[in-house]
Amino acid sequence: MNRLPGPLEMKKYLPAFIVLTAMLFFLLGLIHYAGAGPVRDEMHQLRQDTLVLRDQVNQLEQEKEQLEALPQQRDLAKERYFEAAATLEQQVADGTSPYKVAYLTFDDGPFQLTYEYLRVLEEENVLATFFVLGKPDYLDVYEAILAEGHTMGNHSYSHRIRNGLYDSPQSFIADVNKLDAFLRENFQFKPEVFRFPGGIRSAGGIKEECVNALHEGGYGYVDWNALTRDAEIRGLTLEDAYNYVMPQATSKDFAVLLMHDFNSASLGALPTIIQHLREQSYVMLPLFRESLVMK
């Protein structure tokens, strides 16, 4: 029968035991190291994918920046146009320009016929001004006016000249603000030019308060000095429209022509009016807040 090793023999085997333990720990270490391999590989792959993604994100950020800069470029181009318009006006006023300026303005819209006016203006490459009222049924027409680059002016929401608009400064301001809110809500657009329904004379005794309120609201206002009389005369022909407006317009360096975009006579006369204005050295501009004709 084998006897158990005594303490002296144990001491003899102790180094071997320690070496075996060391080998065991070494082996365990190797297993851990090998076991981490898949995690390492996965991490490596993730790192590569993330770096590729980072490049893609950088490219997309650049693309987004370019797209976001587009409205600013458009605004700069628009600003350049109106700076040129202001310079031209000043030269005409100073008498240093061989040209004159005409502003085609259309009141009381929008109407369905406004689309026809827009078509003619586009064909003639002319920008005009539409003094609009509040008409929720014609949202697409407002949209088209703005999209074509024309100036949209405030002409009050209701146009109730004899029925409340000019009762008091408060009633006037409320009506103007109502159209402001309507345009802001539907088109995120704030007009800067105003025309009094019936002209400023219609405001009578409250004229001064109304003008002050308009200025406080960031508006300039303008009347007209030539008209086709398309809102006054029934059965107006396009010859009549032309004959009424042209002598008045062509006697001025700054001609503000009044028409109404519901009227087919003014529409019919419009191409000839534009052509003859051009022949007489008129440059046609849309109205803008800093224009010399704005008050």
Binding site: L14, P15, A16, F17, I18, V19, T21, A22, M23, L24, F25, F26, L28, G29, H32, Y33, G35, A36, V39, R40, E42, M43, L46, R47, D49, T50, L53, R54, Q56, V57, L60, E61, E63, K64, L67, E68, L70, P71, Q73, R74, A77, K78, R80, Y81, A84, A85, T87, L88, Q91, T96, S97, P98, Y99, L127, A147, G149, V283, L285
Partner: protein, 99 residues
């Protein structure tokens, strides 16, 4: 002196001290391997997070760009229109000839 003491101790039982040395070396290899695994896992988690973050950022940007692209063509055309109109209008302006 210390070196002499250590040498005389070693000479008393060389196999034992060699074995102890080997054990220490094995332990030095083993214990850091435990920590290494944990560190690798932490690192992997961080890369997973970064990857997901980048992926989210990429998707958001792609959506933003898609939305912007729909309007961009129209804005570009408007920009070109205003530039053309400005150039045309500038042709009517009399250049300052100076004194």
């Amino acid at each position: 002196m210390l070196w002499h003491q250590a040498l005389s101790t070693f000479k008393k039982n060389p196999p034992l001290y060699i074995a102890i040395g080997l054990l220490l070396l094995a332990l030095l290899f083993y214990f850091p391997s435990l920590g290494r695994e944990a560190r690798l896992e932490d690192s992997r988690q961080q890369w997973v997070q970064r990857h997901q973050q980048m992926l989210g950022q990429k998707n958001t940007l792609a959506q933003d760009i898609e939305a912007l692209s729909q309007e961009s063509q129209q804005i570009l055309e408007e920009s070109q229109d205003w530039t053309r109109r400005a150039e045309e209008l500038e042709s009517y302006i009399i250049e300052d000839q100076g004194d």
